[in-house]
Symmetry: C2
Subunit: 236 residues, 2 copies
């Protein structure tokens, strides 16, 4: 019997690895990508290619304009994205890049999609270790979301609640990259930088965490950067 899964796919490294982990588990894949009013669409540029590389059965690009509500530097040009932080400063507090209730909105739309297919699981590439202080990336949050989903759908009422899967939740960035290499995830197609442009900035929290992950792995990041932080030693 076919086992279907909806996979949230942003175009970033984490969701790309997660998609390929779902593929490895034998699921038939339905990718779901959000255009949510991001200031830059750079991470969407290669997202179709990532889906194709995984052999997804369907890929929905869904527009949900969180910009209408404002409240984050990722959807509001008037808020500045922090850069060049020390690594130990990242994750101490909720940063301005936090988008209100983003994962809750994304998971809820995935739940609607999953119930319609029907799919038995939803994969999301959140991780708690480097979570940069986002409340909706913590294990307690996903536990509570699962309990809510167990009450929310026709499938749940009929005894088949849709499972929220977070396979990289407790991994470090280096471990995620290692997994990605193991399952042949096309990391060269991924984009993590909070800024747009042809090359990643190498200065925002997301670039710093990604580069630290590759450094810890001892292998160079295949994508291009404008500049590298002084501590980065594994340049191409």
């Amino acid at each position: 019997m076919t086992r279907n899964a909806v996979c949230l796919l942003s175009g970033g490294l984490d969701s790309c690895v997660t998609l390929f982990l779902a593929k490895q588990e034998g699921y038939t894949l339905y990718a779901l990508t959000f255009d949510y009013g991001q200031v830059h669409k750079r991470e969407l540029q290669n997202v179709k290619k990532i889906g194709e590389a995984a052999g997804v059965k369907n890929h929905v690009l869904f527009t949900v304009d969180l910009h209408r509500f404002g409240g984050s530097s990722l959807v509001d040009k008037n808020i500045t994205i922090p850069k060049n932080k020390r690594l130990d400063e990242i994750g101490n507090q909720i940063p301005p890049t936090y988008v209100p209730a983003r994962n809750t909105v994304f998971l809820s739309l995935a739940l609607a999609y999953a119930e319609t297919i029907p799919a038995e699981a939803i994969f999301i590439g959140a991780h708690a270790t480097d979570y940069s202080g986002y409340p909706d990336c913590r294990p307690e949050y996903f536990d509570a979301y699962q309990k809510m989903a167990n009450q929310a759908t026709r499938a749940a009422v009929e005894g088949h609640p849709i499972q929220i899967k977070t396979p990289i939740l407790s991994l470090s960035k280096a471990e995620i990259i290692k997994k990605g290499v193991e399952v042949n995830a096309p990391l060269h197609l991924t984009w993590s930088c909070y800024q747009g442009g042809k090359k990643a900035c190498g200065q925002c929290d997301s670039c710093l965490l990604r580069l630290k992950g590759f450094q810890d792995m001892g292998t160079p990041d295949p994508i291009q950067y404008h500049r590298y932080p002084s501590w980065y030693m594994v340049k191409k």
Copy 2:
């Protein structure tokens, strides 16, 4: 200090009464209405007027195209809306008008809006008594949603979780109408019918439950119907 609330406002009777109950509690009101790919937009026709009648501070009409996922007669023209059921048949099973995960999607977008304003409460006009078999209208569902919301937002992490308010959840339709009359809700502007058109059909589950409510109240429904069920005795 101003107490803000986001109120989900569909244009139907239940959400209209709920909006006016929030107003009575002294909240500054932020209405949120969804264009979710409904087959007909009839209930949206007067929704702005309902908001204005309540004196809302802002009213967001938000597009979220659940039609992309399909799976319900409310968003898919190819599924037939049941009609002329006996009243005791309504609510026994999940009907084809069920939209997968709709309340979860709506509440999650309301959560994003509430966190941005910021608002301390979200009002939703769900009711369990006449819930027509929708899993996401049951008290267990809202309890689980609240627990999830308590983990989901910056406000929650900082000790101020946003409260999900369901003031009509345990009321019958007649009691909801009675409340609405008490708080001067403009029931003549509301639309409950699952079909479009100038007049309500008087045959779908939603019309039948509404007319039963007015009959139990002993007062005529102020809106117009194509035809009334044989048991309806309080015509205008």
